[in-house]
């Protein structure tokens, strides 16, 4: 159509010419005009062509200074998230909250929005896709909260995840791709997180696995390397397959600490970012720079936080939890893109966790799920306030919520009681202060 119009214009110009000189001038002018119009047309077509291939909805952008940003709908996005598994009192992790007629995510979503949360992390999707989609949609449309969807990658399967077995790999791959196909068009989906702390199984620390080839290797260090190669190569294959069917969401490698990422650098180059579980007390230490040296990918702190029970004084201490969380958030912000003092590779984090889970301490004993246990199962010296607890066991699994649960019911759900950390984080997100803001009285 454009060409027809241009031809008509040129013909008109020619008809208007009265003499040779003018005709020559008009001819020359016409040629120039034609050339200009053709170029414009080319640019227009090129732009239209570009417009038909929009940039991915969510993607990682590497800046010129080597820093990383998560881009969502063309804008930088800092993940202000929480890990979400709202098991009510008396229930354990198997509780099907997705089907709960009281729809806990609506109560929680409002509280989260008011706090400033923009993301939840879910470790594994629900079997009923329609219900899961409804949760994701509700959180996004009603509260603007996006969902990072995860898969355990069969990590908890009995007796162990056989990553060295192709049949096991194929089954897990099919499950993951099914998840991606089911949810990739949900506007509320933010990213895919593959695995959690599965890398520890390569070291034989948790859910150890092997195969015939590994068993033949006498050197345990080489065995470890062989397992890491198998596992991270598998995750890389998953990342490649996901990218083929969903270019709009990044793929994160879930990882415990930075353990094994030297292998990931070699065998999992196609993951877009790492999602690390880090419990290092008030500081992440050298985490961000160390990652840059080991495996230069952006990092989401997909689990971090602190419990609010002082195992030494044997009483709840909300100040302690708020202190650690605020300190951790300061470090996260210090290492976001374009902060010269940081590594520039952090994109935010999802705090562990939204609500307490009363089943965790003694998970095989259903009677204990209705009791808020104050015993601790493990020790971590970096949470030093209560490290003098008996046996140095200071980490209280059932007390990590930034929102406490009450036995009192409200709208059919355990009443939510925000802890001090809720308010401290809300204020931090409103006005992030990277430096410690506690100051003494000014001396005069």
């Amino acid at each position: 159509m454009w060409i027809i119009t241009l031809k008509a214009l040129r013909s008109t110009l020619m008809k208007l010419s009265t003499n040779k000189k003018n005709r020559d001038k008009i001819k020359a002018t016409g040629r120039k005009f034609f050339l200009l119009a053709a170029c414009s047309l080319f640019v227009l077509v090129f732009c239209l062509g570009m417009a038909s291939v929009p940039s991915p909805k969510v993607h990682i952008r590497k800046l010129k200074n080597g820093h990383y940003q998560l881009i969502v709908d063309r804008k930088p996005y800092i993940v202000k998230g929480v890990c979400y598994n709202p098991a009510p009192i008396s229930q354990n992790h198997e509780y099907d909250w997705w089907s709960d007629p009281n729809r806990p995510w609506l109560i929680d979503g409002k509280l989260m929005r008011d706090m400033g949360v923009n993301t939840i992390r879910i470790y594994q999707t629900h079997e009923n896709a329609e219900e899961a989609k409804q949760v994701i949609r509700d959180l996004y449309t009603k509260f603007g909260i996006r969902t990072a969807l995860g898969s355990w990658l069969g990590f908890w399967e009995y007796p162990c995840p056989f990553y060295g077995d192709k049949r096991f790999q194929n089954r897990v791959k099919n499950e993951v791709l099914k998840m991606v196909n089911l949810y990739k068009d949900e506007p509320g989906v933010l990213m895919w997180i593959l695995g959690n702390e599965n890398n520890y199984s390569c070291l034989g620390q948790v859910n150890p696995w092997s195969n015939e080839e590994i068993d033949k290797e006498p050197d345990p260090q080489k065995q470890k390397a062989m397992r890491a190669k198998i596992y991270y190569s598998f995750v890389n294959t998953l990342a490649q397959e996901i990218h083929k069917i969903d270019p709009n969401h990044p793929v994160a490698l879930g990882n415990g600490e930075l353990v094994g990422l030297e292998f990931a650098k070699q065998y999992a180059p196609d993951v877009d970012l790492v999602a690390c579980i880090i419990y290092r007390g008030k500081t992440f230490g050298n985490l961000f720079r160390s990652l840059k040296m080991t495996f230069d990918k952006p990092i989401l702190l997909s689990e971090f936080g602190a419990d609010c029970y002082d195992a030494y004084l044997k009483k709840e201490d909300q100040n302690m939890q708020a202190f650690f969380l605020e300190s951790q958030l300061r470090q996260i912000y210090e290492n976001l893109a374009n902060n010269q003092e940081g590594a520039g590779n952090c994109i935010g984090g999802t705090i562990f966790e939204w609500t307490d889970e009363w089943w965790k301490h003694d998970e095989s004993n259903p009677d204990s799920w209705a009791v808020h246990d104050t015993d601790s199962n493990w020790s971590n010296g970096s949470y030093y306030f209560d490290i003098k607890a008996e046996g140095n066991k200071n980490m209280n699994e059932e007390w990590f919520g930034i929102v406490a649960l009450s036995k009192e019911l409200e709208n059919g759900l355990n009443k939510r009681i925000p802890r001090k950390a809720y308010y401290v984080i809300r204020e931090f997100w409103k006005n992030p202060q990277i430096k410690n803001k506690i100051k003494g009285k000014r001396i005069k």
């Binding site: 345990p220 470890k224 040296m293 030093y384 410690n436």
Partner: protein
């Protein structure tokens, strides 16, 4: 009306200047007193934080017995009788009184570069284990923790200085403190303190932790002055471990080597055991210590098993996590030991070794050593 406007304009313009003047006044403050004299108006902290065997401590904060200046000094009598069975005692000056970091108080002492105090012993020879500024933890922790000591007192007044240059003094609740032990003073001590104050001395420069030269030994030989870490951090089934730091059984180099016997009997029921070499001893990240080993690119050590085939799950450097965490960690393992001395290397390239409390560590478990393991270590050093 014009006059009024002019006055208002002048006032508005002068407000920032007033603020500036106040800032400058604060910035130019030369000293800030912890204790001057009994009931002095400029005493800013209270000696309320009694620690350890507090029953062994007596205080007289208006001692007229030869004060250094003014009319009074502070007399402390520490009896070393272990009233609370602790073996040590001490006192913190706090603001407000009894503030162990559970409430907001303290002062922003930015601009001060040192704390000075005068001290003397009743007889001379009294040993103060350490003196401190800051270091109180809790929900409102001090922004700095600085320690100095031990100090051996004389029977005449002497001034001591704690360097605070470069420290973050934005929140100091523990203005000053001292501790000492019954081991250092078995007969107890009487000593005096006076004129404790922060000072803004521009001539004081930060005491940087110097980068240590290489090689830097964890263990060289028994009693070697080159040994920088102490094998004090026994972990897991510590009852299963026997440690001999002066074994003469075929050392790799020098007179002695380290011999470890791990019997795998699960004395504490853990199923594993290990030892961390720390600085200072027993430092699980609870106190500021360690070394700046930024120049190190690797740690090497020699090891052998008594039979060969002993499996050590990890050899590690760094990784102690606490209030003062190691700046990084690196690990190798599992390692199957040979019967002959073999050198092993932990690669530190790209690691941040600027702050290392945990100089070296091994850990083994009973699953892989059902009969236990006896092994030797020697020449553990950063290079």
């Amino acid at each position: 009306m014009k006059k009024l406007l002019a006055v208002m304009a002048a006032l508005i313009l002068s407000l920032p200047l007033c603020g500036l003047a106040e800032e400058q006044a604060a910035d130019k403050l030369k000293e800030f007193v912890v204790y001057n004299d009994k009931n002095a108006k400029d005493n800013h902290f209270i000696p309320s934080g009694w620690m350890g065997d507090y029953g062994d401590v007596k205080i007289n904060d208006q001692s007229a017995d030869n004060p250094h200046a003014g009319t009074t000094g502070i007399q402390f009598i520490y009896s070393a009788k272990k009233a609370q069975n602790q073996g040590w005692a001490g006192v913190y000056w706090q603001n407000p009184a009894n503030n162990w970091g559970n409430k907001k108080g303290g002062f922003d002492l930015t601009g001060m570069t040192k704390l000075t105090f005068w001290a003397r012993g009743a007889k001379g020879g009294e040993v103060i284990q350490k003196v401190m500024v800051g270091g109180i933890k809790g929900t409102y922790p001090d922004s700095a923790s600085v320690e100095m000591g031990p100090i051996e007192l004389t029977d005449t007044w002497k001034q001591y200085t704690i360097n605070l240059a470069g420290r973050d003094l934005t929140y100091i609740n523990g203005g000053f403190g001292w501790t000492t032990t019954a081991d250092l003073n078995p007969e107890g001590v009487t000593f005096y303190l006076d004129d404790i104050k922060f000072e803004a001395d521009p001539a004081i420069k930060p005491e940087a932790k110097k980068q240590e030269g290489m090689p830097f030994y964890v263990y060289s030989d028994r009693s070697s002055a080159k040994n920088h870490y102490i094998p004090a951090g026994w972990m897991g089934d510590y009852g299963d471990i026997k440690y001999d730091g002066s074994s003469k059984e075929d050392p790799y180099l020098g007179d002695t080597c380290v011999k470890i016997i791990y019997n795998g009997k699960k004395a504490q029921g853990s199923g594993w055991a290990g030892i961390f070499w720390q600085n200072p001893a027993n430092n699980w990240g609870t106190v500021d210590g360690g070394f700046d080993l930024s120049k190190a690119t690797k740690l090497t050590f020699w090891a052998r098993g008594v039979k060969g085939g002993e499996r050590i799950e990890e050899f590690k450097v760094g990784g102690i996590m606490g209030e003062y965490s190691d700046s990084d960690s690196a690990v190798i393992g599992p390692v199957i030991l040979n019967k002959e001395w073999t050198q092993y290397t932990i690669d530190l390239k790209g690691k941040d070794m600027s702050y290392v409390i945990g100089g070296f560590c091994w850990a083994a478990n009973v699953d892989n050593n059902p009969e236990g393991a006896t092994f030797y270590l020697d020449e553990i050093k950063y290079e």
